[in-house]
Amino acid sequence: MNPQKSPPEDLLYRPHMSFWWWLQKRNYFLFMVRELSAVFVGLFALISLVGVYRLSQGEDTYQLYLNALQTPSAQVLFVVILLFSLYHTLTWIHLTPMIMVVRIGSKTVPPILVLIASYLAWIVISLILFYLLLVN
């Protein structure tokens, strides 16, 4: 038998994973929630894109968009988007110290300081953005 020959398809090892694997452990579940937060992050971008499109169609059409933003279904949708958006922010900030190793000279800045700095940056940026969005 020729050892170079690739094994028949049915002899290949294929781990079987249930569609529901992410419900089997708490960590798997939290991983899936984190990954799915991107759906709601993307959804907010899409809603904004619709707004820009409506804006380009003139004031009357844009008003319909603004009205839609104030319906009960919009209330539910935006609360869900906000929860996932905050979860995204927390998980993203907690990944920062693992990805970004900060060195000053030959010394490595402790990861906890990188984490604190990220939180501070988020708070400062948020306050400035609140001000810019709400004050003319």
Binding site: E35, V41, G42, A45, V52, L55, Q70, S85
Partner: protein, 118 residues
């Protein structure tokens, strides 16, 4: 010796990462003000009034800001959602899934650019 780049992965990962960072730091406030705030009436819809937004978008910097606020999170979604679909069993459809996800982000980006810059 020249290093040959064989995949486009770094591009998608870069856009994913940029979108994730932008969303992490900026999105909660945008969702609170223009999403939840307006929906529940805590923020005046005047914040998004036609005259105000069109006047603000005269500024090229704000055009670019809004463009990035739409485009980068779409690429962030595309990359993560692609792997969610594969983790949920679509590993055999690797290429169509990638084309679909990044394609949606690219179309959204193109539309945002056309609407905002032209």
């Amino acid at each position: 010796m020249a290093v040959r780049v064989k995949t486009t992965d770094p591009i998608w990962w870069g856009l994913f990462s940029a979108g994730g960072t932008l969303a992490a730091f900026l999105l909660p406030v945008h969702v609170i003000v223009t999403g939840v705030g307006i929906a529940f009436g805590w923020v005046s819809p005047q914040v998004l009034a036609y005259q105000r937004i069109t006047a603000l978008l005269e500024n090229p910097l704000l055009q670019i800001y809004l463009f990035l606020l739409i485009s980068l999170p779409l690429f962030h979604w595309a990359h993560r959602f692609r792997f969610v679909l594969m983790d949920l069993g679509l590993r055999s459809l690797k290429t169509p899934v990638a084309v679909l996800c990044y394609g949606v982000a690219m179309v959204g980006t193109l539309l945002a650019a056309l609407l905002l810059f032209f």
